[in-house]
């Protein structure tokens, strides 16, 4: 198990696929589509290997593959995965074929470039979730910006250019800040141990010994750059634009995986590297998270555009994840991890459904619809299902995540007040309000718009194939979450133990 190369194979599967597509003819669109889909399915198959061979009791990184890269700075190609990584890698490889299949018809120009970009994006995201070298992490983090920029900019809606530039600049600001933070971290740590290294596992031991004054700034720098990605209120303004303008595939990837990179970064970097500062800032960040939960929900409520509504609901849901992480209890962090997956599934499904209906009518306004339950019953059922999952109905996945987070936050000694939970819980209620209200306006009632009769057709076989796997997992997590919680149990408790070790004098 020690020096397995499975993760490297996984990482290079989509890259090699993209290179092969590069040499295909632009005109062979069907072949390219099928090939891209097969590659992404193959990547999913490869990613099952670490899942089935995972050692649940071992909190350390597994399947480590390390090759020295730059000697003078001790940078290496160093990948590995713990339970959290495996979960998110699975999410990535699961979502990618679904998005490729979902955009079978929706993307009708430059299909070759699109498929390549999607595969490269997948590689970048997988890389982020498995990098164990801060430098490598940064490379993957940046590398996946460029495909996303093109996906929004070329295949997006009317305002796509504005949205793509805004997305690029915003996230770039965050990632450059992270670059400075990474350099500062490694330089500061090298002064402690007298050796420059970018090895994350070594930094875990060294970083908490950095002077607290510096640590505080480092924590904030990392936090800021991840918070832009999450996005945490008030840094969320790029998200609605990017989401609304992106093509369906882009939105799904963005919501499903990209945003998770921010919360993943918080767990992977901020908590173990700067435990003291984490505890110190946890209440402030939790307050920001709660503001995000409520603000996102309130803004979602007044949206007239379905896609925008779902986009703002993301802000609200990710607030839960951040709250869970910074409540710093076992339950809450476990809940946050599972909620990352949940959000990927349910919001992904919502975006897919909005995309499906948009493909037919080219309208996203809620007011345009109404009473479509009779016209497209299957669609109505699917939308109901996705909405309920997003709301957190018991028995579906959303409930598990939100429940664990709220439970954990309630017990949290770091937050030490139940007011957090009270406010956060309102978010759940608001979520029910805005989603069901939208559902009611779109699906129920009588058909007010005559055009809908001719435009709308129900879900076809391809769309059902796209949606069903997601719904299976939504139910699976809702009923038997242990399958997934077990994966992250060991690493989560290890991280919390690590935080506790450095801060036991106060607050614990």
């Amino acid at each position: 198990m020690e020096n397995s190369q499975i993760l490297t194979y996984l990482l290079f599967t989509p890259i090699i696929g993209a290179v092969i597509i590069l040499f295909m003819k632009e005109s062979q669109t069907v072949l390219i589509k099928i090939f891209g889909l097969l590659i992404s399915l193959f990547a999913f198959a490869v990613s099952l290997y670490p899942y089935f061979n995972f050692d649940y009791t071992n909190p350390d990184f597994q399947f480590i593959h390390k090759v020295l890269w730059i000697e003078s700075l001790d940078i290496s190609y160093h990948v590995g995965a713990d339970g959290i990584s495996v979960l998110l890698i699975l999410l990535t490889t699961f979502i990618t074929p679904i998005t490729l299949l979902s955009s079978w018809k929706a993307i009708d120009k430059k299909i070759k470039l699109f498929t390549m970009m999607m595969l490269l994006l997948e590689a970048g995201m997988i890389g982020v979730f498995m990098a164990l070298d801060v430098f490598l992490f940064y490379i993957f983090w940046e590398a996946m910006l460029i495909p996303m920029y093109f996906i929004i900019g070329i295949w997006g809606g009317e305002q796509r250019i504005y949205a793509s530039v805004k997305f690029f600049i915003y996230t770039m600001l965050g990632s450059l800040l992270m670059l400075v933070a990474i350099i500062w971290l490694t330089v500061a740590a090298s002064k402690n141990i007298g050796l420059y290294t970018t090895n994350l596992i070594l930094l875990y031991q060294q970083a908490p010994n950095i002077m607290l004054d510096i640590q505080k700034w480092l924590f904030l720098a990392f936090f800021f750059s991840f918070a832009i990605k999450v996005p945490l209120f008030p840094l969320h303004t790029w998200l609605p634009d990017a989401h609304v303008q992106a093509p369906t595939a882009g939105s799904v990837i963005l919501a499903g995986v990209l945003l998770k990179m921010g919360t993943y970064g918080l767990i992977r970097f901020n908590l173990p590297l700067f435990p003291q500062s984490t505890v110190e800032f946890a209440p402030f960040i939790s307050i920001l998270a709660i503001i995000g939960i409520i603000y996102g929900a309130l803004v979602a409520m007044v949206q007239t555009d379905m896609k925008k509504l779902v986009a703002y609901s993301s802000v609200s849901h990710l607030g839960f994840v951040v709250l869970g992480i910074f409540a710093l209890t076992f339950e809450s962090v476990q809940g946050a991890v599972i909620q990352m997956v949940n959000h990927g599934l349910s919001t992904g499904a919502l975006f897919l459904l909005v995309g499906i209906i948009y493909e037919r009518t080219h309208k996203r306004e809620i007011a345009y619809y109404g009473g479509i339950a009779k016209l497209v019953p299957l669609f109505a059922i699917a939308l109901m299902f996705a909405s309920l999952s997003s709301i957190g109905l018991p028995g579906l996945n959303g409930f598990i995540g939100e429940f664990l987070i709220l439970l954990g936050a309630f017990q949290s000694q770091v937050l030490d007040s139940w007011w957090y939970v009270v406010f956060a819980a309102t978010g759940v209620i608001f979520a029910a309000v805005y989603l069901l209200w939208m559902y009611q306006r779109v699906v129920f009632g009588t058909v007010t718009n005559e055009k809908l009769n001719t435009e709308l057709t129900d879900l076809n076989a391809r769309e059902i194939i796209v949606l069903v796997p997601i719904f299976i997992f939504i139910v699976w997590i809702g009923i038997y979450p242990t399958t997934f919680l077990d994966l992250s149990e060991a690493p989560v408790s290890a991280i919390l133990e690590h935080v506790k070790n450095y801060t036991f004098n106060f607050l614990y």
């Binding site: 730059i70 910006l145 070329i154 250019i161 530039v165 600049i169 800040l177 350099i183 500062w184």
Partner: protein, 503 residues
């Protein structure tokens, strides 16, 4: 006496080679004035020979032309050291690239008849730069600066029929004369204070107590004006956009890389030799406490990069945008010097090497496109990604590298710069540089946007570059990508060239 001179000559072979080839070019121009097509090859051959001679010198540390009549017989007028050799190599390589650049460019229509002058003037610039990089005597510094300036004035106005070009040349002359006059004034004051023009002697003399700090600071600032003009640091950068826009594009690329490199080499040598008292073990320079170079350099560099980046935001002419971007890059490089450490110096060396590749590359693509479309306007780049896929991708990589994103060499350059800054605890400065990078991102991405996202309104034929251009671009692209992924060689090379001949 004669022995010293003969001995010294062995250390200036590159400069000698350049002078000899300059004369050969002039003679060939005169003798075969009907058929001048061989001149570029002669000048290429000369540069290759010069390059080999410079390569031979790497690793040598020696003084040349030590005055025998003066009191102090230790320090020469020229200093041969690995640092200087690195920059000389950079200048020679840039010159070779520029010669090819000129061959491909169709901007100078009557170039065929004026090849002789053109190459002679380029050689004049090269000679000035080579001497400038090694000079450790104020008189020599001034003279080489003038040699460089004089040649570049004429080259900047080489397109005499274009109004902008003449205007550029005239502006260049006026700004240049003022700043070189101020520099000369500064030199005279330093001489008045110390009675010497040799930087090493000056270094030991200004450590004495009787030196008037106010006067020394004033003269240092005046010296800096002269150098700052060459490296187009704000507030001495006003000539840059006009000259870069008006000059033939090959000369613009040349000015933005080579003459800047020489200016930076001079600045580094001036500070390191003239003002450093010792270098600590971890590579930090301790300056003689007479003048706060660090504060001045930080202020100037922040001003330079901010002005450069913000002015570049509004440019629609790509040449002009690249001019402003090169001002901004000068700001980043200045930061590397402001750290006042060997770490910073390594960053500067790496940065220059990368900057040479990406800047010349960007200008080259702009030139190829303007050859075809006759325009450098950003609107004419609409949909270029589809019409000229290779050129589009090449320009995109150059611009991404200029921004400093992985996996390009531009990222490595910025990485080392940031490491140096943060190692010196200059976090705030690093953050300002970072914010500047975000600003620069906007205008670089704007070009990408026009190339790939905006559709062209009019139909245009596809642009396919010639085989030669393809090879040229690949020669620039491959190292940018290769060093972006595996940068140990370039870092090690820079590290081996970091040592200046100290006291």
């Amino acid at each position: 006496m004669i022995n010293e001179i003969l001995n010294s000559i062995t250390f200036i072979y590159p400069e000698l080679a350049v002078s000899i080839f300059l004369l050969i070019i002039v003679l060939v121009d005169l003798v075969f004035h009907k058929d001048k097509k061989y001149i570029p090859y002669i000048s290429l051959a000369g540069l290759v020979i010069t390059g080999i001679l410079v390569l031979n010198q790497i690793g040598i540390t020696h003084f040349a032309f030590v005055p025998q009549l003066s009191a102090v017989k230790k320090y020469g007028m020229m200093t041969i050291d690995p640092f200087g050799s690195y920059f000389k190599l950079l200048v020679v390589v840039t010159s070779i690239l520029i010669i090819f650049f000129t061959i491909a460019s169709e901007e100078v229509i009557d170039l065929k008849e004026r090849l002789g002058e053109f190459h002679a003037l380029i050689y004049g610039m090269i000679l000035g730069m080579l001497v400038m990089i090694s000079a450790s005597d104020l008189i020599l510094i001034y003279l080489s600066l003038e040699l460089l300036s004089l040649s570049s004035y004429v080259l900047a106005g080489f397109l005499k029929l274009r109004e902008r070009s003449s205007e550029a040349s005239l502006k260049y002359v006026i700004y240049g004369s003022v700043s070189s006059g101020l520099m000369l004034f500064g030199i005279s004051i330093i001489y008045g204070l110390t009675g010497s023009t040799n930087l090493y002697v000056i270094n030991s003399l200004i450590q004495g107590p009787q030196i008037n700090l106010f006067t020394l600071s004033f003269s240092s600032i005046l010296m800096f004006v002269g150098i700052g003009y060459k490296i187009s640091a704000a507030p001495f950068h006003f000539w840059t956009p006009d000259v870069y826009e008006g000059a033939p594009i090959s000369i613009t690329a040349y000015l933005s890389v080579a003459s800047k490199a020489a200016g930076f080499a001079l600045l580094i040598r001036f500070i390191q030799t003239g003002f450093t008292s010792f270098i600590s073990e971890d590579g930090y320079w301790t300056l003689i406490a007479v003048f706060d170079w660090q504060a001045l350099l930080i202020a100037i560099s922040i001003l330079t990069m901010t002005l450069g980046n913000f002015s570049a935001l509004w440019q629609d002419n790509l040449k002009r945008m690249l001019a402003y971007s090169s001002i901004a890059h000068a700001g980043y490089i200045l930061l590397g010097i402001a750290v006042l450490s060997n770490q910073g110096l390594i960053a500067v060396l790496i940065y220059f090497f990368v900057y040479m590749l990406m800047n010349i590359g960007a200008f080259y693509v702009v030139m190829l496109i303007s050859n075809k479309t006759g325009s450098e306007n950003i609107d004419d780049y609409d949909g270029l990604g589809a019409k000229a896929p290779f050129l589009g991708v090449a320009l995109a990589i150059f611009l991404i590298s200029l921004t400093g994103l992985p996996p390009t060499a531009g990222f490595i350059a910025k990485l080392y710069l940031f490491i140096a800054l943060i190692d010196a605890n200059m976090i705030v400065v690093a953050i300002i540089a970072l914010l500047n990078t975000v600003v620069s991102l906007y205008y670089y991405v704007r070009v990408l946007k026009h190339m790939y996202l905006t559709k062209s309104e009019r139909e245009q034929e596809n642009i396919t570059p010639s085989i030669g251009s393809l090879v040229y671009l690949l020669v620039l692209l491959i190292p940018i990508l290769f060093f972006g992924i595996y940068f140990t060689p370039i870092v090690e090379f820079a590290r081996s060239c970091v040592s200046l001949l100290g006291i």
